[in-house]
Symmetry: C2
Subunit: 314 residues, 2 copies
């Protein structure tokens, strides 16, 4: 993947997405001792950056693939992203979702005209569900992160952040959370191509600390245990995302759930915007490792704002 790949992705999806705002906040800057620019993907279509990758994949389908439709499995934002993207180009979408997914999420996917296939809430059942759909329909799989088209799409968020935060001073750091590594890979690539002096750091929950292990060992590892409020970051990396991350990311740091919740609360109270627990992770890293960022220009990708208001941690 090169700079042209990401530029082409941006040109391809531009008319289907919001160019989300980059916000700053004086109180948070004072707390961190840094100049933080927040890229607000919580205001993106479907409420999360995943619309970018989903669109970039769907818009590159061949005519044959468009006729057969697309399939994925997800209980979260990727499900909505694929359903939304498919609707834009009138392609049939099949979304395999765990039967335990909240009704509101299933309804949102159906509202975009996608077909929801329910399955047992375990990974093997989800993967079998996808195979069944493919056997029945010939639909093409769009993986949530192990896909260059998806990574190039997610990369456009950091590209916009870099473009919009001014050229008089480059970012010292850009931070993103890491789950499967699609956003982090794209962020690292955009930084590498479009702001080469900028270093990239990832934040990961202590209760889903697989990427930090994989980053050290060079092999895709699983987390020692899974227990975190940041439910968008539970997935392991893939070989593809791990390779990009090992090449272009400087560090991965973990934070605890109380640190995540405190950072989330800070954004809600001071910026008056709604963010998911998963995207409070990078700010929690910045506040925890204050000395590393003090006096510096820092970009943070706020990944999404899809929270269940009935289950808030406050």
């Amino acid at each position: 993947m090169n700079a042209q790949t990401i530029q082409a992705a941006h040109d391809r999806i531009r008319s289907y997405i919001h160019r989300t705002p980059v916000l700053t906040n004086r109180t948070i800057d004072a707390l961190a001792g840094a100049e933080i620019h927040f890229k607000c993907e919580n205001f993106q279509k479907i409420g999360a950056f995943k619309a970018r990758g989903g669109l970039n994949a769907v818009l590159q389908l061949s005519p044959d693939e468009r006729r057969a439709g697309i399939v994925t499995h997800s209980s979260g934002n990727h499900a909505q992203a694929i359903a939304y993207a498919a609707k834009q180009v009138n392609v049939r979408a099949y979304i395999v979702m765990p039967s335990t997914a909240p009704q509101v999420k299933k309804d949102a996917v159906r509202d975009y005209g996608a077909e929801v296939i329910e399955c047992e809430p375990i990974l093997v059942a989800r993967e079998q569900g996808v195979r069944d759909v493919i056997a029945r329909t010939g639909a093409a799989l769009v993986h949530p992160f192990d896909d260059d088209r998806v990574i190039a799409g997610q990369a456009t968020a950091a590209k916009e952040l870099i473009e919009d935060a001014g050229i008089d001073r480059a970012f010292d750091w850009i931070l993103a959370p890491v789950g499967g590594g699609g956003l982090l890979s794209g962020t690292a690539l955009s930084s590498h191509f479009f702001s080469p002096t900028t270093k990239v750091m990832a934040g990961e929950p202590e209760g889903a600390a697989d990427a930090v292990l994989s980053f050290a060992s060079g092999r895709v590892e699983s987390a020692p245990y899974i227990n975190t409020i940041a439910d968008g970051l539970l997935t392991n990396l893939s070989d593809r995302t791990l390779a990009i991350i090992r090449q272009h990311v400087t560090a991965i740091k973990t934070v605890s759930d109380p640190e995540i919740i405190a950072a989330m609360r800070l954004v809600w109270e001071r910026m008056k915007i709604i963010i998911e627990p998963s995207c409070a992770v990078p700010l929690a890293v910045v506040l925890k490792h204050r000395d590393q960022f003090v006096g510096q220009k820092v970009g943070i990708i706020l990944t999404g704002g899809n929270v269940d208001l009935g289950k808030l941690p406050f």
Copy 2:
């Protein structure tokens, strides 16, 4: 008060406030059947429009008044607005606050360098507290709404909304919530001067329904009972605000707390922004009286975003 008064207020306060964004949302437009433009004063300095009125008053103090300082009583956004405004011009501020006000609000006022004077949580004690401060210091009172300088300041929110929402089609309606009537008076005056074909409607909670009675009778009335989540709208009108409202406002409509909470939730979930219950009232009116607004261009002033995350109604 004329158009020049409001223009002068705007010029006076411009460098101290944010020109807050005007946001739209497709889902909410589809639900309402209307084109709604939300003026986001939840992103204003101190998290609410009241920074505008406070600044316009404080910036007009005479040199003698500046030396003596200013005083007000408030448990809410006006307290912070006056403390913030006073800090901008290095004037001493005395804020009489009920002893029952949340510690976080007292701390916020003190953080701006204002002196907090605690009193019993009843109106007569608050008014006595103000008189005591005036006797001791000679400070000038800045009333939260019964003051032309404050009304002209609040009017600048609607002025910006009118300017930013495009001149190719004027608003059919602009809606604001009504408590003491400072914002509503200013909104009605800005609409009258800067968008004369636009009608203004107010939303009021059923559980603090004094303005709707005063509007009908022409006398300042009290609410039959007080019981609402919209705790920024409990105050009666004054003779001054009632006169402006009777002259320039088309209607006041009431909504129930469940209707207010549903509208608040809709904004949180769909727009990903945090608004106070008080400022969900106008949207609740639009959704309740859908037929009246269908197909029309509607402006709504989202007044503030200062909520206690520990006490959410979801």
